[in-house]
Structure formats: C-alpha cells, structure tokens
C-alpha cells in the first residue's frame, strides 16, 4: 500500500461476482478487473493526472486560499471500457448484454 504513488492514478481491483452475490445468475465472466482511481490532486498537478481546465483553476484557488473551504479536485475515472456479461434472466433464458463503463482505463483530476 505504501509503495503506491500518492498522486491520482489507477489502482488494481478485481471484482468477483461471487463476493457481491451475483454469481447466482451470471454465467460469464465470474470475475473481472475493474480497477479504481485514488490519489492526490494537489497543486501543482502533474500533466499525468490530465487535469481539466476547471480542475487547474480550482486547485490554484485552493492553494492561494482566497476562498476558504475549497476542496482539492477529485481523482476520478477518465477513460473506461465496456464488459460483456452473460446471465440468466428471470425466466431462465440466457441473455448477453455489453455494459459500458465497467472497467477503468485511465484516471484524471476533475
């Protein structure tokens, strides 16, 4: 945990559908790499956290301290990928759905 970078970046997370009780009706996949975003969006933000212009301004305002109580920008998913899920519906028919935004590809400060 300690050697993970402090700055906003993608962290590994594997989701096992058995852990959330969905394996009863999900045929495939049994688990998938979802990842998550975590880390600081402190001023000055490095380019790698791909801050939006708004996040840049917000972090400067916070650093200067003009307005009290302004939080740091948030480290959130930027690019995400979809996941095909094969499952049984209530009538026990097999259904395939391709859900968007199920896995994190990159993180950014927003």
């Amino acid at each position: 945990q300690w050697d993970e970078p402090r700055v906003c970046s993608r962290r590994y997370l594997k989701v096992d559908f058995a852990d959330i009780g969905w394996n009863e009706w999900i045929i495939s996949p049994k688990s998938f790499d979802a990842y998550y975003c975590s880390g600081a969006c402190e001023f000055p933000m490095p380019k790698m956290v791909r801050p939006s212009n708004h996040a840049t301004i917000q972090s400067i305002v916070r650093a200067v301290g003009i307005v009290p109580g302004i939080p740091e920008p948030c480290c959130v998913p930027d690019k995400m990928s979809s996941l095909g899920v094969l499952f049984l519906d209530e009538n026990r028919n097999v259904v395939l759905k391709v859900y968007p935004n199920m896995s994190v590809e990159t993180c950014a400060c927003r």
Binding site: S81, V85, F87, R92, N93, V94, Y99
Partner: protein, 335 residues
C-alpha cells in the same frame, strides 16, 4: 444455417440451464461449467456469442443486447406447437433482428409395398422407391398472455426439405416486431409437414429457440448494470432447502473479511504520545494529520542531564529502556 453437434446430448443434460440438483451450485455456475456437448443448443450458441462479443468494443448485431428464448412444447390437435414467452424483453430494448433456430430432418413418406409377381424365374420383389421427402411449413402465431385462442397468424414459411438433419435459422424480425407492437408477447411456432406427429414429441437438445438482437437505449444510463443484474436470487426458494440445517445460510459466498483478533493494537511506540501536552482537552488528532509526510521525522532525544532533572517517575514513564535500582542489579549479576 449451421450444423449442430451430431451426437444428441443425454436427455438429463438437455435441461440446459435448468440448474443442477446440487443446491450449493447456482444455475449460473452450472451453466458456465457444462461442456458444450452437455448443454442445449441455445446455451452453446449464446456462449459462442459471448466469446465473440466480449472482446473489447465489439457490438452484437450492431446493438448491445442478445436475448435468447427457449421453447415450451405443447401438443395442440395432435401437433407439436412450440411457445415462446417474450415478456422478459425490456421496453428500452429496440429490436434490431430476430431469428428462429430449429433442427429439421428430411421427412420421408412411408414406402409403399407392391405385390410381387412371379412371372419370370428371377423376378424379385421390389418396393416402390419412397416419394420425395415431404415439404414442411413454419407457422407463427402471436397471442397475448391470457387468451385461449390459437392466436393471430403472423407468418408462414415453406421450407425446402433439408438434405440431412441440420440446424437452420430463419429471420422473423418483422413477425416479432409486429407482435410486440400489438402487445402480444407470446409467440407460437409450428413445424407442419401435413402428417400427424408420430408419437408424442418431446423437448430435447434439438428444441427450437429464438434469438433477439436489440439495442438497449437505457444501457448508458447511470447504474444500468444494477437495473438488470442487482436483484434477488430468482432461483432461491423462499424457505431454505428442507434438508438444510436450520441455521445454514444458503448463500454460497465465501466470507473474506477476517475478524479482528483481540483488541486492536496501534503501531505507535508505547509512551510516545502524539497529543500536545499543554492542552489537556486537545481534540484527538488523527495520526496522519500530525505527520504531513508518510515518513515521520525522528525527534532528537533529550540529553542525559535534563533527563535526570525531570525526576525519576516522569523519566520512568517516558523512557524506552527499563532501569532497576542498584540492589536489584547486584542480585541479577550474582544470579
């Protein structure tokens, strides 16, 4: 059309995803574990589509959803009729295409016998060659849930006799779209060859099925995965299995959280208290607020002189090494 695995699956496995008798394994697990040979054709077909479309960015049939519908077999007027319940389709799913998959074999009419004539010595009895295989027709009807009629005829297709037993697929998009538009989500299909069905047909691995390729307009809505996947367990009976122990939880999930063993120990060194001594009611600071960076700068140790000034008891409380009086030390040395 595509040819199916020639060997028929054993009847017990033909239930496809009906679920294992073993209460511990969920139908989802059973379905995933079965080999293609043991599953019915619709499960094999859907697994094949899953492998094809679960690669990054692929879209099934231009949409994002494929629904399969298994047949329910009934005998009406001594003919086998297959019923499909399409009610599980969501309103947000726009139908792109619908296909009807069925297995058919050539239907030979029974050969007719011809009385033998013994005119010439070596005449031999012969049978008339059987006529051409019978032509089959596919009839589709739709009806709403609770009507007893045979339903409205939605379509009829003449089928050329197949050269051998094989799976075929027919596009029934217009039939399904019209039936859904009229709110009739129960579809029936009849393979009619004009002859009465010999014996009672049964659903086996060659049971027909319907696939509907759709574009779910709600799938990009927030939390769309929860709408279809976060639900009660459709296979868990209300009360636990009769044989199960009263307190056994039917939930097969493995608990991963480890219980805290005993009182939680913190990592601080004993006696190195973080709270500033001068403010007796100082609010409780969380350690990471006091340590701006992860590695804490070590405090310089006070010199020997002013340690002695603080007096024995304070020194004892804050020191890190235990000290004993002279007498005890002498005893210890003797021992």
């Amino acid at each position: 059309s595509h040819t199916a695995a020639a060997r028929p699956a054993p009847p017990a496995a033909a239930d496809g995803l009906a679920g294992d008798k073993n209460p511990q394994r969920s139908p989802g697990d059973v379905a995933a574990a079965q080999s293609p040979g043991a599953q019915d054709m619709v499960a094999v077909h859907m697994l094949r589509l899953y492998e094809k479309y679960s690669r990054r960015g692929a879209r099934p049939g231009g949409g994002n959803t494929v629904r399969s519908f298994r047949a329910r077999l009934e005998v009406v007027n001594q003919k086998a009729v297959y019923f499909f319940n399409l009610t599980s389709m969501q309103d947000s799913e726009m139908i792109l295409t619908a296909t009807f998959h069925f297995y058919s074999e050539p239907q030979w009419p029974p050969a007719r016998e011809v009385p033998c004539k013994q005119r010439a010595k070596n005449a031999s009895c012969r049978l008339l060659p059987p006529g051409p295989p019978a032509r089959q027709h596919l009839l589709f009807r739709s009806l709403s849930q609770n009507t007893a009629t045979q339903g409205l005829l939605r379509g009829a297709m003449a089928l050329p006799p197949p050269p051998r037993g094989l799976w075929q697929a027919k596009d029934i998009s217009l039939i399904v779209k019209a039936a859904r538009r009229d709110g009739e989500l129960l579809l029936s299909a009849q393979l009619d060859s004009g002859e009465k069905d010999m014996g009672v047909p049964r659903l086996g691995p060659h049971a027909p099925y319907i696939l509907i390729y759709a574009n779910d307009l709600a799938i990009s809505e927030p939390n769309s995965v929860a709408v279809t996947l976060q639900r009660y367990d459709p296979f868990q009976a209300g009360d636990p299995e009769p044989g199960a122990a009263p307190n056994s939880s039917a939930d097969p999930r493995v608990r991963r959280a480890t219980q805290a063993t005993g009182p939680l120990q913190n990592n601080e060194l004993p006696g190195l208290d973080e709270r500033p001594a001068q403010a007796p009611h100082a609010q409780h600071y969380h350690k990471h607020e006091l340590w701006p960076n992860p590695l804490r700068a070590l405090k310089p140790r006070p010199g020997r002189k002013d340690r002695r000034k603080k007096g024995q008891d304070v020194f004892m409380a804050s020191s890190q090494v235990l000290d004993f009086d002279e007498k005890t030390m002498q005893k210890a040395r003797k021992k």
